[in-house]
């Protein structure tokens, strides 16, 4: 039986009817068409589905939509403003940290969550902060440089 959930996604409140077995990742992609959130493995290993939930980055493929009831969610779509890309997104473009782009939404949200909590992370902390996000293209170094350029 469907359940009604209320949550805030990218500063907008939503009221949605969802099946209990729908994951947050699938709800974002298929019910709200927020397809910036990617799905790679669907089992918590790759980080492509990363979103920020109540201030913590999580694998949205391992959260049920019903578990997100009442929460505040940030997805990659929420970073862009009327002025364009967020500085962190610009840095990824600038430093060549994006190739195929499949990991980028998750990578950028993990980086954002890290910088929100720790504006001046060490090299080790940056590398650990993105260790839940796999990238098959860049070799991580350019991603590291993009994040480092945004630390204060």
């Amino acid at each position: 039986m469907k359940k009604i959930i209320r949550l805030t996604i990218n500063n907008q409140s939503h009221e949605i009817a969802v099946e209990p077995n729908l994951t947050l990742a699938d709800m974002l992609r298929y019910q709200l068409a927020l397809t910036g959130t990617k799905k790679g493995c669907d089992t918590g290993d790759c980080g492509a589905c990363t979103v920020i939930m109540d201030g913590n980055a999580v694998n949205s493929c391992l959260v049920l939509a019903v578990q997100a009831n009442g929460s505040v969610i940030e997805t990659i779509e929420g970073l862009t403003t009327a002025e364009g890309l967020a500085p962190l997104q610009e840095a990824f473009v600038e430093k060549g940290a994006i190739q195929c782009g499949f990991c980028s939404p998750g990578m950028i949200l993990s980086a954002k969550n890290l910088l929100d909590k720790n504006p001046n992370p060490s090299e080790q902390e940056i590398r650990e902060g993105i260790s839940g996000n796999l990238c098959r293209c860049t070799g991580y170094q350019k991603i590291f440089e993009a994040i480092e350029s945004q630390s204060s």
Partner: protein
């Protein structure tokens, strides 16, 4: 990957959760962080018609201090435990276990109760629960019981929890002065890796006689469950804490106390050798911490 269809229940109190568990029977599964359960459901390793979410029960995600102990709610997450001062100060080996579990994305959801109930021999918080002499707090609708973690695990993926029971948390006695503990996990890579061997050690010494008066060692990934290492522990009692006796304890743990198997992650022989090395290293660090705490 599709999840099977199920009914979702979200009780707001332990009492209501226990009532639901009783009425829905063995088929109903408890959902904490979901990092094991949802993966198992997706992979069709288990199935259920009813999920009972514990997330709505505030009491289960509290960390509270009693006179000589700390109570950790079963639904506290790795991130929460690792950033709580009372855990950092009194239980560094547990903090190390939490910091090493999965990735930061997993740690934001994964709970300590889920780690214990999943009962993997390689579970990252489990050696620490063993060396701190934690008690598992179990509850049914009509009785409560406390089980030493040393008796909690009954096999890979199996524990002594009964179908109508819920693990509400753990009681960890606060280690006294002149004690220290440490945890090391060995894997092929640093992040999101199932451990090859993981070891925790606790040491307490008498500052007057300079002898060891309490020693506890726990080994992960080298038997059907996480285990204590009783023979290695007994070699340490009454000894002067120094390299030779830590080495001897490591040798004893390697030879007598562990029963690893070969699998695709590593050979039994390699694991056994690493038990010796890691036991010595955790003891050395536990002693350093014990000493620095009393200066």
């Amino acid at each position: 990957m599709l999840l099977p269809t199920f009914e979702f229940h979200e009780p707001l109190s332990i009492k209501d959760a226990l009532k639901l568990k009783k009425s829905l029977g063995e088929d109903a599964k408890l959902l904490a962080g979901g990092t094991d359960l949802l993966v198992h459901l997706k992979k069709k390793l288990i199935t259920t018609n009813n999920l009972i979410s514990l997330s709505g029960i505030k009491a289960l995600s509290l960390i509270t201090k009693e006179k000589n102990a700390v109570i950790i709610g079963s639904c506290t997450t790795m991130t929460q435990l690792s950033s709580t001062p009372i855990i950092q100060k009194n239980f560094p080996a547990l903090k190390a276990g939490c910091d090493n579990l999965g990735t930061h994305l997993i740690r934001n959801r994964a709970t300590i109760g889920g780690n214990a109930c999943n009962a993997s021999p390689a579970g990252d918080t489990l050696p620490a629960l063993l060396i701190y002499d934690a008690l598992a707090l179990l509850e049914t609708s009509d009785k409560k019981r406390e089980i030493p973690m040393a008796d909690f695990f009954t096999g890979p993926g199996k524990s002594c929890i009964q179908p109508d029971e819920i693990l509400t948390g753990f009681r960890l006695p606060i280690p006294g002065k002149n004690s220290g503990a440490h945890y090391i996990q060995l894997g092929k890579r640093k992040s999101s890796e199932i451990n090859l061997v993981n070891v925790a050690a606790f040491l307490k010494y008498d500052p007057d006689t300079k002898k060891i008066i309490d020693a506890r060692i726990a080994l992960g990934s080298v038997a059907a469950t996480p285990i204590r290492s009783p023979k290695a522990e007994s070699t340490l009692m009454g000894q002067t804490p120094e390299e030779a006796c830590f080495f001897a304890a490591g040798e004893m743990a390697r030879r007598e106390d562990c029963h690893p198997i070969d699998d695709f992650r590593g050979s039994a022989r390699y694991r056994q050798a690493m038990v010796g090395v890691l036991t010595k290293r955790t003891l050395t660090r536990a002693y350093e911490l014990a000493r620095s705490a009393c200066i």
